[in-house]
């Protein structure tokens, strides 16, 4: 399975953010998207998730489910993490699992939270959690619902060192299981053998 994009062009508010970008993300190899602020990392991930229209070119998940869009086979985790403040961490996960495919039992929720070192807050309302803890609840979504493609926009934001190690571990496990990972980052994700897609240089040359 691989995610392939060809001649991808994305416009935001009349400005061409990404022009003629082609890349491949193969199963088992992470693709790290880097580039300065405003280079189009978030736009690229949102377009792949189906939230932004594509002006030209296209992308497809080869070997995926033809009946569903790439977005419907992907986890998208952006800056707004989609954790409902009024619900507990467990309720948030149960809803995400039901919505994203597959029901989840309480043991599954606990296991997902444990992988991120957060099992003790399962019954806490999310509004009482710190920014990093909420981020980890959002990341636990990746584990309760199985989807082949992970689109992560700055997943390490607000995470402490231990949580970054835990995140690297679950990403490695996802890749080892034949999953596809596209992550936009500024720092180091701690992934071995990941490919890098550098944005920004072509656009500057054109402008």
């Amino acid at each position: 399975m691989r995610l392939r994009a060809w001649d991808l062009t994305i416009e935001r508010g009349g400005r061409r953010v990404i022009a003629g970008l082609s890349f491949e993300a193969s199963a088992g190899l992470g693709l790290i998207v880097t580039g300065p602020n405003g280079a189009g990392k978030t736009s690229l991930l949102r377009a792949l998730a189906g939230f932004l229209p594509v002006e030209a070119g296209g992308f497809a998940l080869e070997g995926g489910d033809r009946e569903r869009t790439v977005g419907e086979q992907a986890h998208y985790l952006g800056h707004a993490d989609g954790v409902k403040a009024a619900l507990s961490a467990g309720e948030n996960l149960a809803f995400a699992a039901a919505m994203l495919g597959g029901g989840s039992s309480r043991p599954a929720q606990l296991a997902a939270l444990t992988a991120l070192g957060l099992s003790h807050v399962i019954d806490f309302p999310a509004r009482l959690l710190s920014a990093g803890q909420r981020r980890r609840v959002a990341l636990a979504r990746l584990l309760v619902a199985e989807r082949p493609v992970w689109l992560l926009d700055e997943p390490t934001t607000a995470l402490d060192a231990a949580a970054q190690v835990a995140l690297a571990a679950i990403m490695q496990a996802h890749l080892k299981g034949g999953g596809i990972l596209v992550a936009a980052v500024h720092g180091d994700l701690g992934l071995d053998g990941a490919q890098e897609l550098r944005l920004g240089s072509t656009r500057e040359a054109a402008a």
Partner: protein, 222 residues
Amino acid sequence: MTPALSLLVREWRIARRIGGGASVGVVFFLILVAVMPFALGPDLNLLARLGPAILWIAALLATLLGLDRLFQADHDDGSLDLLINGSLPLEVVVLVKCAAHWTTSALPLVVLSPLFGLMLAMAPLPLALVAATLAAGTPALTMVGAIGAALTVSLRRGGLLMAILVLPLTIPVLIFGVAAASAASGGAAPFLSPFLALCALSLAAIALAPFAAAAALRHARE
């Protein structure tokens, strides 16, 4: 749990914990109805005659009051992304969210309207029939309002724009609702035909509005 059921439970939980929605609508309804007799004076016949219209206007405004947050809360915290790429078609998501919103904000109004009608010196039979017209008509208000809420989802302070967009579309509901309700309290027109028109409006809105709202939500993602 199926995705639709789990969405419904989530909406109910959030509505119950955040409060807002239901209680604000009911209190607003109560304020409008309670102030009317003071404004109109102590003429009981006049109050009883205007009662159905007052209840309907109060219900219309109270329903619109909480609707602007219907999709905006999910848009702001990113969970709309989850709903769009989830296993439910977005049209079903809209329908379920509207059902949850209707049960938490419009249903209390329907249940409490006979009580509030007492303040307007209405007789028992008209009270029951007004409640019936509200039960038949408020789904149309919620569904039409959902279109406005979806169109203004990415706008800050979109509530005012939503009201302006939606209010003209709710006028037919108001006309047939008040016509049926006034007939119930001794008007000249028959009760059944405007009541059936009201039911038809609600059914049409339930069938069509999810498609319009879902299309608006998909576009708002840009």
